[in-house]
Each structure stands twice: as structure tokens, then as C-alpha cells.
Symmetry: C2
Subunit: 372 residues, 2 copies
């Protein structure tokens, strides 16, 4: 087989991620690689930190980008904070809550699972009960915006419950950051991770993470060594620390950080509240159009993510055939269902740069054409 | 502080990595992002695997790119293969051997350290003795090309010793892949990891990894669960498996893989032996010029890496000032010493796309100008 240079067909990305990456971000990505210890690069990292603090609405000094995808961001939070033998209350209402349980158990810790139906938000009453039943729990872990179902949970209330029980919170904001209201400091979130390739519309492969003072205190007072060297944030801190000499840990993904810088800058220029409002507006337009096509949402209106629309595949429609036609004829990607929704749902993303009128118009017109 | 788009000053990268990235690779990197489950992307991943098999000189079916830097590639090998309570002979002749020890110990396994002086290769006699003293050792781990010292160890002989003692080999090829002779199958290497940003001259952030049949057998017969979810290669296998349906594990760093594809294609087009010869030729030119400047190598000629030239900083020369002048006046980056060589050595890289006559000429002229 002779291999030649790869030229992907440009697509419109309206699945659960990666989302459309803007030309501005792709242009930043392709700029000349410089050294990861170059003063210019270090200055840019300081700006990335400041821009991430804005996006997360936090003053946390330890606000960085893990040099790996969102699933490594998740593992970063668990492996640094949770020790073998400790108890974590984990809310499961989709795939990513289940993954949190995996993380906890692989560390030799105990996961107390609070289950909610897929497509529903986490029920705060069940979480309160779990703390009453398990006073030994030191952590509450939950997914803010479940990418597998399109449901939004009430992070503010869940964090209040954790605080009442003196537990630290670990929050998955992979799909929420930049798409819906998220206030790390106001809500008292202790540790949070996100993805680059959802509502930030940056390329996949890096994961914003922030630890608050209580998380840092827990990290600094561990009784055991962090099992992972690569994700040991006590080492990474020296690399992402403020001005002055940086200690070498690993070689940062230089070009991906150019792209993250640009995507965060676009978010700052737009304004966080404006970005949230834009996602909402485009979601309303999509919703109206889907209703005309007779397509129904899975999640109740009150807990629906504007950036990830999970809808039932109409009866008699061939899931894979429709998605394949959308891709081949319209260069439009929408997402398949995941887990219990496989074959039953589509996930239509309106994330970041993809939350635009032309995308909504294309998606509705293409669906109408294919389903007619 | 008002933040604006980041436009790095183009540099010539002749440190220990990242190395110069060619315009072809940067162009591939900036192509439109498509979905990680898009058939076009999956086809490209199959090509990446085939190109990596060529670069590693292996038929190993499990030959992939870990979605994180080389240090995660290292951890991938250890966390999947080594279990708590097992014994690993680790050769330490620089920073990266020490990091291997960290990996082993954080897994609850025992590291038997075979030490050699920094700048020297691993001594095979000591390794044989370590196996005699520790018949319980199941693994031999060593660094093929020590990035911190510029020394090349005899991987072929070390693998033979391991095989004689029925031990698996874990080999760090971060700096060797593409720069010097490396033959995974002929030498019987069981598990190997490399970096994207050394002699492949791809952007940093991904790590080629290959497991041979004995490593796969060990992985499939573990008695304990793999401590890391993100690096669990039994899950990743389903994602990188051949044709047909891929199981979702994480979102691949799509654009970085475009770049890796292009850089591996350039290597295949040039031919592996030709690339090794080019590194040697440019090294000889650099060596001759450095001799004229009175600059001496640290590593004996027989074990010197052509792609990473570690030289003594001449007496009375201000390390940081010289490197700073090279960077600010000539846009030329050379590397500082690491570990015991900090402040005593420079590391001049001739890696991948950086191993060109114009780079050698610039480096020698700039050094001459600064040191005069």
C-alpha cells in the first residue's frame, strides 16, 4: 500500500466532540514550534493560565492544562486527591460517571454510587442521603454536563451538600466549560477538569484542570505517594508555576497550547455570558426545527444541555444509514448514542464554534432531506 | 493585562527536543479537524500504525501512538506490564533511567538499579550480574539513547541478556527512533516507547508505543487490574484495532495525529537507513566545527549519539548568557545540561528535520560569534 499525505475532507462537526475548530484556532495551531522552555512560550503559558482562570471563573493559582485528553484530566483529579482506602460518593447518570467509578476503584478506594436514570440530572436528595449513610466519605464526584445523555446537573447545589459534609468535590466539566454557566469559586468547586474540544472548540488532546485551596491542602498532606508519575501534579506545579525558573517535567504539547490560547482568547473576547447565551439561542433554533421534523428530546427541558442535544431516533429509521448519509452527502457529523442510548439516540452538538446559525440551518435541512 | 493572539518568533531548534518541525508537518497539523470516529480518520490511523511499524522495524500488531507525551509513553509500558511485587532491573545512566525507577516504585514493584556513570553507556556485564543476583527479576528496563547525556547503549546485547534470563525488555527509544539504528523485531524488544518531537520532528504531545507478543501475553495474564484507566492498553487496543468497528476509549488528538502521519511519511519516503546516515553525516560536520572552536564532547566517540551532542561548556563561559544570546540574536535554541550536567554541558540536537547542513552551519557560526 502506498501512503500519501492525508487531506481530510472538511466536515461540519455537530457530534459530541470534537466540535468545529475555527480557522483562527487552526491557524494558531500551525505556527512554528518553539521550545517549551523558550521565554516566549513561558509567557504564553502564563496567559493560558489567566485565560483559563477566566473561563473557569476562578482565582485558583493552580489552573493549568494537562498535556493529554479530558479522560487524563479526570484521572489527574482522582489520582492526585484520592488515596487507597478512602471513600468517594460518585454520582452516575451516564457513561462518564461510570468512568469516575473506574478511576476510584483502580486507586484502591471505595466508590459509593448514587445512581440516576440516564437522561436525568443527579438527584441532590440521594446525594444527601449517601452522605448520611456514609459519613466516612471524603469526596463527592459528579459530572456537570453528561456528554453521553445531554443532561445538566445542578453543580451549585451538589457542591453545597458536599461542603455541609466536609467533603471535597471533583467535578467533570468536559462538556460544560464555555457552554453553560459554571462558576468554580462561587460554587466552591475543589477540583475540576474539562476538555479542549467541546465548547472551547480547540483541537482535542489537552485538558484544563483547576485545584482550589482545599484540594491543594489534601494533595500536600497525602499519606501515600501519588501512583502516577506523569500525572503527579506536585511535579507539574513546578512546571506551570508563575514567573522565574520552571522545573522540567515533560515536554508540553507546544502547538496544541497555541491553539488552546487562541480558543480561550476568542472566548474572552466574546465574553463568557455571551457565549452561554449564544449556545442557548442556537439550541432554541435547533429545538424548534427538530420539533417540525417530529424529533423528540430525551432530556426534560429543565435539565437539557443547549450544547448537546440528545434526541430519540424516530421509529423505523436506520441509525447508521442516516448518520452515514449525513456524513457522505453533507459532510455533516452528528453523534451516535452511547451506552444505553446506542442505536436509540442521536447526539447533536452545538458546541463552541459549532453553535452558529449556519450549522443549525445545515443540520435541519440535511436531516429533513435524509428523513423524508 | 490585555492578551492578544500569540505569534511565536520562528526559532531554529537544536536542543534536546522539540526539534525543528518541517513546514510539511505544520501544514498537516493545521488541516481541518474531523471526528475521531470518521471513516477517513480511522483509515489514517491504520496508516499511522503501518508507518510506525516501519519506523520501529516491527510486525507487532499492537503498535500505536499514545495520546500524550513520551513520559506518558514510558508510564504506559510500566503500568500495563509491571505489577506490584514484581522485580525490574533498571539501568540508570541519566535522568530518564531515574524516571523509570520512579515508575517502577510508584507501582509497588521493586527496582534493582544498575548504575553507570552519566555519559557512559549501560554496561552489559553489570546487567548480567544483576540477573544472577536477582533471578526473580521479570523485566529489564533501559534507555536506548539517554537524552540527558547523549550516550547510546547497546540495545541488541541488553535484549539478548534479558532473553537469556527469561525477562521482558522495556526500552526507552524517545530520542533514538528515527535517528540511529533500532530494530524492534530483530533485537527482540518486548515493549518500547518513543517521542514524537525528537528525530521524527513531529510536534510534541504524542508517544509511539509497540508491544510484542510476549508483552501482550503478560498484559493479558495480569493478576491485578491495571491501576490507570487512561493508560489501560487493553481498552486502547479496541480503539486502535484493525478494520471494522472501533470501541470508544478517549478522543484521539486528531490534528497531532495528522502531523505524526506526515512526519512518519517523510521518514518512510527518505528511508530509515538514509535518515540514520543523514544524522551521522551532520553529526560529523558539527563535530569537526566544534573541534575548531575547542569544544569537547562528554561521551566517548564509540557511544556518542549523532542526534544529541553533549559538550562541555568551555571554562569561563557563562552558560545562560551564551544560550540567551544565541536565542535572542540568532533565534537559535540549544539545550542546557540536565541533572549532574546542569551548568556544565550544552546539548546540541541534530534531530530529524533539524539534521540539515544549514542548521550545522548556523550553529557553528553563531557559537563562534558568541564565544569569541
Amino acid at each position: 500500500m502506498t501512503i500519501s499525505s492525508f487531506h481530510p475532507t472538511p466536515r461540519t462537526l455537530m457530534g459530541p466532540g470534537p466540535s468545529d475548530v475555527s480557522p483562527r484556532v487552526l491557524s494558531a495551531l500551525g505556527r512554528p514550534t518553539i521550545g517549551h522552555l523558550d521565554p516566549e512560550f513561558i509567557g504564553m503559558m502564563d496567559e493560558v493560565k489567566e485565560l483559563l482562570q477566566y473561563a473557569f471563573q476562578t482565582k485558583n493559582e493552580f489552573t493549568i492544562a494537562v498535556s493529554a485528553p479530558g479522560s487524563a484530566g479526570m484521572e489527574t483529579c482522582f489520582v492526585n486527591l484520592v488515596e487507597a482506602g478512602e471513600t468517594v460518593i460518585v454520582c452516575v447518570n451516564g457513561v462518564f460517571g461510570m468512568r469516575m467509578v473506574e478511576n476510584v476503584e483502580r486507586l484502591g478506594a471505595t466508590a459509593i454510587v448514587v445512581s440516576d436514570e440516564w437522561g436525568k440530572p443527579v438527584d441532590p436528595k440521594k446525594v444527601t442521603q449517601a452522605f448520611i449513610d456514609h459519613p466516612e466519605a471524603k469526596f463527592l464526584a459528579f459530572v456537570h454536563a453528561e456528554t453521553s445523555t445531554g443532561a445538566l446537573s445542578d453543580a451549585k447545589t451538589l457542591c453545597q451538600i458536599a461542603q455541609q459534609h466536609d467533603a471535597l468535590t471533583i467535578v467533570d466539566a468536559v462538556t460544560s466549560l464555555g457552554g453553560v454557566e459554571l462558576r468554580v469559586d462561587d460554587w466552591g468547586i475543589d477540583a475540576i477538569y474539562a476538555g479542549s474540544q467541546k465548547c472551547l472548540s480547540c483541537v482535542p488532546g489537552i485538558s484544563p484542570v483547576s485545584f482550589g485551596p482545599r484540594a491543594i491542602e489534601k494533595l500536600n498532606n497525602r499519606s501515600s505517594k501519588i501512583p502516577s508519575w506523569f500525572l503527579d501534579q506536585t511535579l507539574v506545579m513546578g512546571y506551570w508555576s508563575g514567573k522565574g525558573k520552571r522545573s522540567y517535567h515533560h515536554t508540553a504539547p507546544v502547538n496544541s497550547l497555541y491553539a488552546l490560547h487562541e480558543s480561550l482568547l476568542m472566548l474572552q473576547n466574546e465574553g463568557l455570558e455571551n457565549a452561554w447565551a449564544r449556545h442557548k439561542t442556537q439550541h432554541e433554533a435547533l429545538k424548534a426545527g427538530l420539533k417540525d421534523l417530529g424529533i423528540e428530546f430525551i432530556v426534560d427541558e429543565a435539565h437539557r444541555l443547549p450544547q448537546l442535544n440528545t434526541v430519540l431516533i424516530p421509529d423505523g429509521v436506520d441509525d447508521a444509514a442516516v448518520r452515514n448519509t449525513l456524513l457522505q452527502e453533507f459532510n455533516l457529523e452528528i453523534g451516535a448514542g452511547l451506552g444505553v442510548f446506542a442505536g436509540k439516540a442521536w447526539r447533536i452538538g452545538l458546541m463552541g464554534y459549532a453553535a452558529r446559525s449556519e450549522n443549525v440551518a445545515l443540520c435541519l435541512a440535511a436531516l429533513k432531506s435524509v428523513l423524508k
